[in-house]
């Protein structure tokens, strides 16, 4: 059946002929493991295209939506963490494989004529891949990508002459915004991949024209075919690369986000849900806090650009442009010129120069990268280890490697050469593993004791000049500061993610963090008010100086205006969490009338406390609805109203609807509602609020907003001068957010934004 279908299709398409062209490539000297690297690059590119298209189905490129959509992919969508993680680590795998491929090409001398055109195509591909990494880094619109890209585009802006113009083109305007994202997105998903495909096809066509560059020993061996011998080797290495990627994705790189409410139940219900949302346990790629131009960030580029970052440190001031522009361009030019050394009698020289240039370049990149890591390492032994690796181990290993290559080049094809070759492969793999292990140990601050002791001994042997000592001290402090900033950024990210779980406002995730009620409460209220067991020490992103819970001067606002809060208040208003902490300048309780009145009731109801409690409960239940008028006939609150106005005669002091009440006693019409709180925050000393008893500043914007009292009017009502009244400046938007939280959200029992302790 399949054969007949195949015949039918082949008859129409001729696909077998095409497949034959593709797969029946003769390989002189037979299939070899060293030819696999180009195929792995193609494989990872296809993987990137596949995961990239999947991500495009859920990603939304816009400065107010990008972070939210990536959050959603990472933490909410089934296996979004897996797809995004593969894409994230796939991009890094491409960079690594490019390095290996590059090395492999110059080792074989495959850049030399007649293959120079393919070398140039390859350099173009290298540019495309680096460009894809750079543009992709910005797309989540988180702090990390935002600030790293700021640096990159500013470097572009400092290119002599056309820099400012280029920067404006890249950014899509004078500053970061919608068009930055849409332009980077277009580069990332259309322009660069399109160019890459075009170059890759040409690269393959030219490659097929000239075939593999077989090593010397292969000339004596029979030739083989791509299918299936080489294809099998290629596939096996591709699978190994894929396995490494999956392994990396399964590690914890992100911030865990424990699910709340219904989501938590669903999460625990099945193994499928646990795997589908493993991003919540931190698996996959990291997502930082939303980009916020106002919030500083310890910006570092992705690790494969760290060497450029480190390079800048050696070119301070006006020399910077050498490190940012001229040197990278010069290296690019040098690489491009390599094949030209292969004409005529130059060829053997050209081959050696090619190897020297590329090996030197890769070693230099490795050293610079490790030095950049060392500079950010606060722990002394880890820093010393990275320094040693960068300054001693890598140069030494590079020299050894070059010697090894030279020996291979000189020895005639035969048994001893074969032995040396394999010895080198084994030792090389061991050295790479060793260096990698030590870097990992340094990064995780688990330097083995033996190594640490040896490094310390080495350091003591060298007498440091005072200047050098001073420089080391500064380096230590800078690294400590950096780590502190990184940790703070991490806490902000965790907070942002916890908030995002409740939904992101249409204005975008940046607003989510800026308008975080927890942050606003801390900035404006927590100097006097507590909130449950919550104090600023729990809030990680602002460091409050010397905060002491004993210094609370006003009521606890957790649950303010709810039935429970009102009931507790009625039963014991003098409790510390209500009026107990409110003292005047002499340290005397500020609000005694309410406390005295309640004391009298308890005496009056001696022996019938249960009845009093029941009545207080009724009033609390009614007031918790923030009533503005008497209950309608037939309402369940009629009795509460009777108690409120008649039995207890609360309206003798408190104004309510038509009842006038007294001065300096808060009116209860709409108590606990957003309107009440808005007015109260702007004028707590108004006669129908706390009047002369008030100790709270008025929270207002600098100029009176339309419809609200101006400062002068407020002062007049209080019979004071403007300068005598404490004001705290707050934007209307921030005030509205606080009001929304205190008067609505927390009372509706929505997931706690403030009191939840992460």
């Amino acid at each position: 059946m399949w054969a007949r279908l195949g015949n039918w299709l082949d008859n129409r398409l001729g696909y077998r002929h095409f497949l034959k062209l593709l797969l029946l490539e003769e390989i002189p000297g037979g299939a070899r493991w060293r030819y696999v690297w180009g195929s792995t690059l193609l494989f990872v590119f296809l993987l990137q295209a596949f995961t990239g298209v999947l991500l495009m189905t859920a990603y939304s490129p816009g400065s107010s939506t990008a972070w939210g959509s990536v959050y959603f992919i990472q933490y909410e969508m089934d296996f979004g963490w897996f797809i995004r993680g593969l894409h994230h680590f796939g991009s890094q795998a491409m960079i690594v494989l490019l390095g290996v491929h590059l090395l492999q090409v110059v080792l074989a001398g495959a850049q030399l004529p007649p293959r120079e055109l393919n070398w140039w195509l390859g350099l173009g591909l290298l540019g495309c891949v680096l460009g894809l990494g750079l543009t992709g880094y910005l797309l989540p619109w988180d702090q990390k990508g935002f600030w790293a890209t700021q640096v990159a585009t500013n470097i572009l802006g400092n290119v002599p002459g056309i820099g400012p113009f280029l920067q404006r083109l890249a950014v899509g305007g004078p500053s970061y915004g919608h068009h930055t994202l849409t332009r980077f997105f277009t580069l990332h998903v259309a322009v660069l991949p399109g160019l890459l495909v075009l170059l890759a096809v040409l690269h393959l066509v030219v490659f097929r024209r000239h075939g593999v560059t077989a090593p010397a020993e292969a000339r004596q061996q029979p030739s083989g075919w791509f299918w299936p011998d080489q294809a099998f080797r290629d596939l096996l290495v591709c699978l190994a690369v894929f396995a490494v990627l999956v392994f990396l994705v399964l590690q914890v790189h992100g911030h865990p986000l424990p699910p709340v409410g219904e989501a938590a139940d669903a999460e625990n219900s099945s193994w499928y849900a646990r795997w589908a949302h493993a991003g919540r346990e931190g698996c996959g790629a990291n997502l930082d806090a939303p980009a916020d131009p106002e919030r500083q960030y310890p910006a570092r580029p992705e690790w494969y650009f760290l060497f450029l970052f480190q390079l800048l440190k050696y070119f301070p001031g006006e020399w910077e442009v050498v490190g940012t522009v001229f040197l990278p361009l010069g290296v690019g030019l040098l690489l491009a010129l390599l094949p030209l050394l292969g004409y005529g009698r130059c060829r053997p020289v050209g081959r050696v120069v090619g190897v020297l240039v590329v090996v030197g370049l890769l070693a230099g990149i490795a050293s610079l990268t490790l030095l950049a890591l060392a500079d950010d390492m606060p722990e002394a032994s880890a820093r010393a280890l990275l320094d040693w690796l960068a300054q001693r181990a890598i140069p030494a290993l590079t020299a050894l490697y070059l010697l090894y290559l030279a020996a291979l080049g000189v020895l005639p094809v035969g048994r001893s050469r074969q032995t040396l070759f394999w010895l080198g492969v084994v030792l090389g793999a061991g050295a790479l593993t060793g260096v990698g292990g030590l870097v990992y140990a340094a990064q995780t601050q688990q330097v083995p004791a033996v190594v640490a002791a040896w490094l310390a001994e080495r350091q003591q042997a060298v007498a440091l000049s005072p200047e050098e000592r001073q420089r080391q001290q500064e380096r230590q402090e800078a690294a400590a500061k950096f780590q502190q900033d990184v940790q703070e950024a991490g806490r902000l990210a965790e907070r942002a993610l916890a908030l995002a779980q409740r939904g992101i406002p249409p204005a975008g995730a940046t607003e989510l963090v800026r308008r975080d009620p927890k942050g606003l409460f801390l900035r404006y209220c927590a100097g006097c008010h507590s909130f449950g067991d919550f104090g600023p020490a729990d809030f990680h992103t602002r460091q409050e100086p010397g905060f002491d819970k004993a210094q609370f001067k006003a009521s606890d606002l957790a649950g303010w205006g709810t039935e429970e809060w009102l009931y507790e208040f009625l039963c014991q208003p003098q409790a510390a969490r209500f009026l107990g902490r409110c003292k005047d300048e002499q340290g005397e309780p500020r609000f005694t009338r309410m406390a005295d009145w309640v004391q009298q009731r308890w005496r009056q109801y001696q022996g019938k406390e249960a009845q009093l409690r029941k009545q207080f409960r009724k009033i609390a239940r009614w007031l918790a609805t923030s009533p503005r008028s008497r209950p309608a006939p037939g309402s369940p609150h009629t009795e509460a109203y009777e108690l409120f106005t008649k039995t207890f005669n609360c309206v003798r002091c408190h104004a309510f609807a038509d009842h006038k009440g007294q001065k300096n006693v808060p009116q209860l019409t709409g108590y606990g509602s957003a309107d009440w709180l808005q007015l109260f925050l702007q004028g707590p000393g108004l006669p129908h609020l706390y009047g002369e008893n008030n100790a709270m500043p008025a929270f207002r914007d600098l100029e009176g907003a339309a419809g609200a009292l101006t400062r002068q009017e407020y002062a007049q009502l209080l019979g004071k001068k403007v300068e005598e009244i404490p004001f705290v400046s707050i934007s209307p938007a921030e005030r509205a957010e606080l009001v929304r939280y205190l008067a609505q959200e927390q009372r509706q029992g929505l997931p706690e934004a403030i009191s939840r302790r992460e």
Partner: protein, 182 residues
Amino acid sequence: MSTPSPSADRRSFLRWLIHSLGALLAVVLGAPAVAYLLDPRHRRSAASDFQTVARRSDLVVNQPREVVIRQNRRDAWTVYRDEVVGRVFLVKQPDGQVLAFTTICPHLGCSINYTGQADIPFLCPCHGARYRLDGTRIDPEHNPAPRSMDTLEVRADPEDPDLIQVKYQTFWPMRPQKEPRS
């Protein structure tokens, strides 16, 4: 034909191995990809509760009043607070009872207009579905709509009987019976 040479055996074994490993890769990569693409099945529209829309005493018999329904709406990661999610016609019947209809036409989901005219009070501008004040179809034989306008549950506020509360819902168009969309 002679028996296959060892080399041919090896080649067919390699081919088999390549296909198997390829299939393994396709599964490890494909299964999560399919699950990821099927993710929208988890998204539900918000469950609606009764909400107050008007005062009974403000309504006039047989004069439809259009009111808006506001809800917090969640669109993937974004929460829109207090957004208009739908519109409802309130029609006070001669017996004092209040009927509530969604403005969504049961034919193909366009928005029904109140014309103010006695013969065709409700008219859908898309395909001309016509309804009476009680929501029933005019001339069902030649009316594109498969059923009457969709009624919503109505009740009086338990604390203030004059307040009318409606439970907003949407229904599948094109079906002869109204079936709620989740």
